[in-house]
C-alpha cells in the first residue's frame, strides 16, 4: 500500500545523517558538559561547535544562541522573558491573530498578569500589514512578536519591514520562525529581529530540542531557573545528542535548501493546480505566492476535515486539517477564522505539507484518490444536500 507523508509542517522524520551524528553522544561521549574532565570536554566541545554552527547559519554570534526544549519553550521564553525584563518600561505587547498557540497562549497568560496585548488582524491571505504594526505601537509597547511563516496556511510575513519599524521605534521584535528556519534563507541581522525561535523537528532534526536567538544587548529573564547552563540563562543538563542533532539538521537543511525548495515549489503548485481543477467548490487558503514551498491548504465546502483525513489515511495518505475535531477544542483553526473563513468552511480544510522526499507519483496518486473521497463525504453531507436543493 501507499504510504505518503504529507504532514511535514506537523513534524518531520529525523534524517539518518542527523541520527548518526547524535549517536556517539548517548553512549561514548555522554559526559555532562558542565564537568571538566576528558569525557565531558568532548560533550562540551560538541555543544560549543553546535552553537557556533547554528550561529553561523543564522548570521548570529556564538553567544546569541541558546538551546531550549523546542519551539514552544523558545516562544514562551522570548515573550515572558522580555516582558519581565522590560516591565518597568511598559506592559504592551503586539502580536498577530494567527500566531501558533505557543505564542497566543503565552500572550493570553501575560494578559492575566496585567500585560496588555494587541492581536493584529491579517488580510484574507493571512498577512499582517506593517502599517497596522506601526499604528499599534504605543509608549508602553515593549515587544512585537510576529511569526515568520504560518504553520497552517504557509503565508510568509513581511518580517524585514516589521523589523525595520520596530527598530525605528525602539521596540524589541521577536519572530516565531519555527516553520521558516531551514526552509527560507534567514539572516537575523538582515531580518531586523531581536529574538527568533526555532525547533529541530521541523527540518528533519530531532524532537524536543530548539533554540532561541537573543541579540546581544537584549535583556531576558530566565523562565527555567536552575544551574549555570546556557550562560546562567537556562538551567538543566544540556541535551547533548539533541543539540548535535539540531545543528546537523540545520546545516543539512540549509545546504540543500535551494534544491529542495525548487523541487517542492514545483510539486506544491502541481498539487494546487490539480486540486483546483479536479474538485469543485474549493478555495486555496493562504497567500498565492508569498507562501512556504511546502504548504498547500484548501477548504472543501460542505465537508468536515477529520473525516477527510481519515479517508485519506485509509488510502495511505497522511495530512492534517484545521478542523476543531482534531484538536479537541470546539472551534476550528483560529488561523482560518482570522483570514475570514466562516466556521463551517474552516472545519472543512485540508493541509498538505510536502517534503523533499515526496514525488510527482505521490502527488498523482493523491490527486487521483482525493476527488472521489471528497465526493463521498459530500454525498453524506446534509449541507451539500441543502446546497443542491437550493440550486435546483
Amino acid at each position: 500500500m501507499h504510504k505518503i507523508y504529507f504532514d511535514h509542517a506537523a513534524t518531520t522524520s529525523t534524517r539518518k545523517e542527523v541520527v548518526d551524528a547524535m549517536l556517539p553522544y548517548f553512549i561514548e561521549d555522554f559526559g555532562n558538559p558542565s564537568s571538566i574532565y576528558e569525557v565531558a570536554r568532548r560533550s562540551k566541545q560538541a555543544v560549543d561547535e553546535s552553537r557556533q554552527k547554528i550561529a553561523d547559519l543564522l548570521g548570529a554570534d556564538f553567544s546569541e544562541i541558546y538551546f531550549t526544549s523546542g519551539g514552544t519553550e523558545s516562544d514562551n521564553w522570548a515573550i515572558k522573558g522580555v516582558a519581565e525584563s522590560y516591565k518597568n518600561k511598559g506592559n504592551h505587547i503586539i502580536t498577530s491573530s494567527i500566531e501558533h498557540h505557543a505564542v497566543l497562549h503565552t500572550c493570553q497568560y501575560l494578559e492575566s498578569q496585567g500585560y496588555e496585548v494587541t492581536y493584529l488582524p491579517v488580510d484574507e491571505y493571512g498577512q499582517v500589514n506593517p502599517e497596522d504594526v506601526k499604528k499599534a505601537i504605543k509608549n508602553t509597547t515593549i515587544l512585537i512578536s510576529i511569526m515568520y511563516a504560518n504553520n497552517e496556511i504557509g503565508t510568509i510575513q513581511p518580517i524585514e519591514e516589521i523589523g525595520r519599524i520596530a527598530k525605528e521605534r525602539g521596540v524589541l521584535f521577536h519572530t516565531d520562525a519555527v516553520q521558516a528556519v531551514g526552509h527560507i534563507p534567514i539572516d537575523v541581522k538582515k531580518a531586523n529581529v531581536d529574538l527568533l525561535s526555532l525547533s529541530g523537528h521541523k527540518f528533519h532534526g530531532p524532537k524536543g530540542i530548539g533554540a532561541l536567538y537573543v541579540r546581544k544587548g537584549v535583556r531576558i529573564k530566565a523562565i527555567l531557573h536552575g544551574g549555570a547552563q546556557e550562560r546562567n540563562r537556562r538551567g538543566g543538563t544540556e541535551n547533548v545528542p539533541g543539540i548535535v542533532g539540531l545543528a546537523t539538521a540545520l546545516e543539512l537543511a540549509i545546504k540543500d535548501m535551494d534544491e529542495n525548495n525548487k523541487k517542492m515549489l514545483e510539486l506544491r503548485d502541481y498539487i494546487i493546480e490539480g486540486i483546483s481543477q479536479k474538485v469543485d467548490f474549493v478555495k486555496l487558503n493562504g497567500h498565492p505566492t508569498n507562501r512556504l514551498a511546502n504548504n498547500i491548504n484548501f477548504t472543501f465546502d460542505f465537508i468536515e476535515g477529520e473525516s477527510l483525513l481519515l479517508l485519506l489515511d485509509s488510502k495511505g495518505i497522511f495530512c492534517s486539517s484545521g478542523s476543531a475535531c482534531t484538536s479537541g477544542s470546539l472551534d476550528p483553526s483560529h488561523v482560518l477564522l482570522a483570514i475570514g473563513l466562516p466556521h463551517e468552511k474552516a472545519h472543512g480544510s485540508l493541509r498538505v505539507t510536502i517534503g523533499d522526499e515526496n514525488t510527482k507519483e505521490e502527488a498523482d496518486y493523491f490527486l487521483e484518490v482525493l476527488p472521489p473521497i471528497v465526493q463521498r463525504l459530500r454525498d453524506m453531507s446534509p449541507l451539500y444536500e441543502d446546497f443542491k436543493k437550493r440550486k435546483n
Partner: protein, 146 residues
C-alpha cells in the same frame, strides 16, 4: 484513536442517505461546531420501518449516526425514545473523551426526528422532550483541566 467498531461504521456507514417523504426528519448540531446530523424516519404502525442519516462531521459523528440508525431500525417508537447516547457509545466500544458529545448528538438527532413525526401527526410521544437549540452538551463534556 477510534475503536475498530467506530472505524467500521465510519468507513462503511449503515443507512446513509435520504428518505423522500419521510414521516419525520430531525436536524441537530450546527456547522459552527463542526457537526450536523440529519435523521430521516419512516414510521408505520408505531414501528420504525426505515431510517437514513446524513452527517457533516468528524469520524465519530458519522459513526455515531450510523450506529444510532442501526439501534432504532425496526424498533417501536417507544423503544427509540429510550435510545441513549450511552447505548450508542457502548455499541461502538467507546469513544475518546473529546468525542463523547457526538453520541449525545446522535441521540438528540433521533429524538428530534421523532419529535418532528409527532408534531406532523399531532400526537404526543411519552417521554419525548422537544429538541433544544443550544449546544451546551459540547461545553459540558470537554476535558478541560485548567
Amino acid at each position: 484513536m477510534y475503536s475498530e467498531k467506530v472505524m467500521d461504521h465510519f468507513m462503511n456507514p449503515r443507512n446513509m442517505g435520504e428518505l423522500e417523504n419521510a414521516s419525520g426528519v430531525g436536524v441537530v448540531g450546527n456547522a459552527k461546531c463542526g457537526d450536523i446530523m440529519k435523521i430521516y424516519l419512516d414510521i408505520e404502525d408505531d414501528i420504525i420501518k426505515d431510517v437514513k442519516f446524513k452527517t457533516f462531521g468528524c469520524g465519530a459523528a458519522v459513526a455515531t449516526s450510523s450506529m444510532a440508525t442501526e439501534l432504532v431500525k425496526g424498533k417501536t417508537i417507544q423503544e427509540a425514545v429510550k435510545l441513549t447516547n450511552k447505548a450508542v457509545l457502548e455499541s461502538l466500544d467507546g469513544l475518546p473523551p473529546v468525542k463523547v458529545h457526538c453520541s449525545v448528538l446522535a441521540e438528540e438527532a433521533i429524538h428530534a426526528a421523532l419529535w418532528d413525526y409527532a408534531q406532523k401527526n399531532g400526537i404526543e410521544i411519552e417521554g419525548l422532550k422537544p429538541p433544544t437549540d443550544n449546544d451546551d452538551h459540547h461545553h459540558d463534556i470537554h476535558d478541560d483541566e485548567e
